[in-house]
Symmetry: C2
Subunit: 452 residues, 2 copies
């Protein structure tokens, strides 16, 4: 397959897809949901091939879990499709309606972006989610999934594509790319592909960003911070830190760095709790010297046997692994490891996050409205949180039905990207023969009246 030729055809049918009615797009989604259920045995059989291949090649259990497409996953994607159908149509919304002058009406109307290339990890449910988000929003997707799910992807794509054709979508409105080298061909389709959404490892996303002139939406790093303010509730802080670090360590919205207020009360009372919680949960601490020296001190205190006041017996942090590093060595771990440093204020925390973070999701633990407000104002990230886990940064948890990815760029869409991020707009201007010359020479003048 010559990717460019196929994408060129897609580009020419994209306006036809954009012109399909809301009813037609919803009907297509219904047919997709039905077809997936009708052909589930075939899908599971193809998925079996991928699972067998993975088993033969000793693929890790955690990854195999993601490759699997079973009754549960089918139920989830069908429920997702049903939710998508109920969401308000993102297309054709009038976001500006202005009379520039008599009989000269300007409207700004939302419309699909067009051709979107999406490169995603080996998760068959992702293929269904991404395709159906594109169908709902009138976009034409070029899909490249992880090679570990080639067989499952192939049948899922074929089922979805045939269902949308049956609904009256034009041929060539969806495209599957299977070969890894075809990604490079896709990256060169500037002017034909309107947007690329790469999902996957840091290095992979960086490679895409560095090797194309097509706009890219996504995120490379996910270095999320939690700042424990001087007005933090300690139990809340511990609970959130453990969830944000451990609930899914490989996620981009897992916390990687703790910033802790240098207040003496916190040093005296929060640090022992933290050290205990980290040890108990097998989380390694990499702190600056100021942090680890304090941890050393608690270990000394412990040996002076006044620990009972601080630690319950089953919490004694005997097994805490920790080491001293410079804060320039803080990084994305995607593992049960966490960086920590002390800061003097909300402002210092925000400044550190803005300089060292990845503008993904950062959280303050505080009971002070003033400090929370200041933090959420100053931190320049897609998500700024107060007293809840960074792991909430996700399209489904935001109520978007699904997401095509998470963006750390500030351009176009930021944070979890659902239907809203898959639309753009066009300006429509309707007149009765007006010329700019008439306005330039003063014969006519604009009156700019917004119409409700």
């Amino acid at each position: 397959m010559v990717v460019r030729d196929e994408v060129r055809k897609m580009k020419s049918v994209a306006p036809l897809v954009a012109a399909l009615s809301n009813e037609k797009r919803c009907e297509a989604l219904k047919l997709v949901a039905e077809a997936l259920q009708d052909k589930k045995d075939e899908i599971f059989a193809e998925n079996r091939k991928d699972l067998d291949y993975a088993a033969e090649n000793g693929v890790a259990e955690a990854i195999v879990k993601r490759l699997k497409f079973d009754e549960g996953k089918l139920r989830d994607v069908v429920a997702g499709i049903e939710q998508l159908i109920t969401l308000e149509d993102p297309i054709g919304r009038i976001t500006l309606n202005r009379e520039l002058d008599e009989d000269l009406i300007l409207k700004r109307i939302t419309c699909p972006i067009g051709v979107i290339g999406i490169i995603f990890e080996a998760r068959p449910d992702a293929l269904v989610q991404i395709s159906t988000l594109c169908i709902r929003s009138g976009n034409c997707p070029v899909l490249k999934g992880g090679k570990e799910t080639t067989n499952t992807n192939r049948i899922l794509f074929s089922i979805i594509y045939n269902a949308v054709l049956e609904a009256g979508f034009p041929e060539g409105c969806m495209l599957a790319v299977e070969q890894h080298n075809e990604i490079d061909e896709l990256l060169k389709c500037e002017g034909l592909v309107d947007l690329l959404i790469p999902r996957g490892s840091n290095a992979f996303v960086r490679y895409i960003m560095d090797n194309t002139h097509i706009p890219v939406m996504g995120h490379a790093d996910g270095i999320c911070h939690i700042y424990v303010d001087e007005w933090a509730d300690f139990e809340t802080a511990i609970k959130i830190i453990l969830d944000a670090k451990l609930q899914y360590t490989a996620a981009c919205n897992a916390v990687e760095t703790l910033l802790i207020n240098r207040n003496q009360l916190i040093k005296d009372n929060f640090i022992p709790l933290l050290v205990s919680a980290l040890a108990e949960n097998g989380i390694k601490l990499r702190g600056t010297a100021e942090v680890t020296e304090l941890v050393d001190k608690y270990y000394e205190r412990e040996s002076q046997s006044d620990t009972e006041e601080i630690y319950a017996p089953d919490q004694v942090p005997e097994k805490l692994k920790y080491e001293t590093i410079d804060d320039s060595e803080f990084k994305e771990y995607l593992a049960p490891v966490i960086s920590a440093k002390f800061v003097g204020s909300v402002e210092e925390a925000a400044d550190f996050i803005n300089q060292h973070g990845s503008h993904h999701t950062d959280c303050i633990i505080t009971s002070s409205d003033v400090n929370a407000g200041r933090f959420m104002q100053l931190v320049d990230s897609a998500g700024v949180y107060r007293n809840c886990s960074t792991r909430f940064a996700d399209g489904f948890r935001y109520g978007f039905g699904a997401e095509v990815g998470i963006s750390t760029s500030k351009i176009h869409a930021r944070g979890p990207v659902g239907l809203d991020g898959l639309v753009t707009y066009k300006y429509m201007l309707s007149g009765r023969g007006q010329t700019v010359g008439e306005y330039a020479n003063g014969e006519k003048s604009f009156h700019f009246k917004d119409i409700d």
Copy 2:
């Protein structure tokens, strides 16, 4: 100056600028307007130096007109600032307010983009417009103007910068770059500069797009089309074509290509009118063979002396310059030259525009609502017009007060970019210690309730 160091400082003050209140930003704009008026003699004196230099170096009259900053231009920019103050604050708007669950509130709030690099042509009024749009929207601009207005730019920048400092903006919130080689330094400030807006020649914008990993907003080409439908009113068509071609030939929104319905009535009645109008106004026609053969025929008819019926005596197109070209040779002229070809339908017109245009602004001349609707639906451009000049594609004419540029990308902002295009958003999530684990294990569940 090491651009990167200065931009790094700007990046660290950008959140402080973003946190300034609407009142503070409007107060700064008032001080800017006052200072510009107070120091007008100094500004005019500096502008005199630029004009003298241009005169000594034989710069063309048309360009000198743009360099000039006089009482009229001062009045216009001050009026623009006053209009900016009256516009609704683009910052801090809540565009989503959703209860994900009890005491877990998600808000999407508009905020400034941050650090924006703007490289613009030699027009001192552009410096004022761009700076004040950035001040209004809480952004920090890095400004590089055309070298022909170095002296005027320097004093305008100094006046504006001092006024915003007086209003309480932080030092380093605005930056002027004077040397052309510093543009290349700026292009390398990925991660510090959030957005680049280049204005200028096709080749220059293309150079910027090809040499940076920073997101770029703008347009290289401006190949605008007018499609004369079979249901066109001929007089309206001629009037609009002449305005769109001639009102300002060097503008990106000037028309470059005519698509004409192949209907016999049009061939018989519109072509003679068009040929006459082009000849009379000194516009050269570059048409496909089908067009020029028809024009040849009219010249023959003319020699057969039945021209009176078609042309008024002063309209005889004796001086029409025309040549036959292939439609692959159609291009952006920025001069009194126009391409033309016949098409069979609205669909064929839209398809040609989508393939050969630059997605800027394209217009249909028709009295048919059906054909207009189809055209505006299928044409994939920032502006789709009906019965009015393509020259209306401009931030001021859309009632945006001013524009930082026109975007032909579909990502982020499309068409003329005013305040709305200079903002992004962040998600703020406030909870009471909620963890994702609680939702994953079924202990809690989302209820997604939008709050008015």
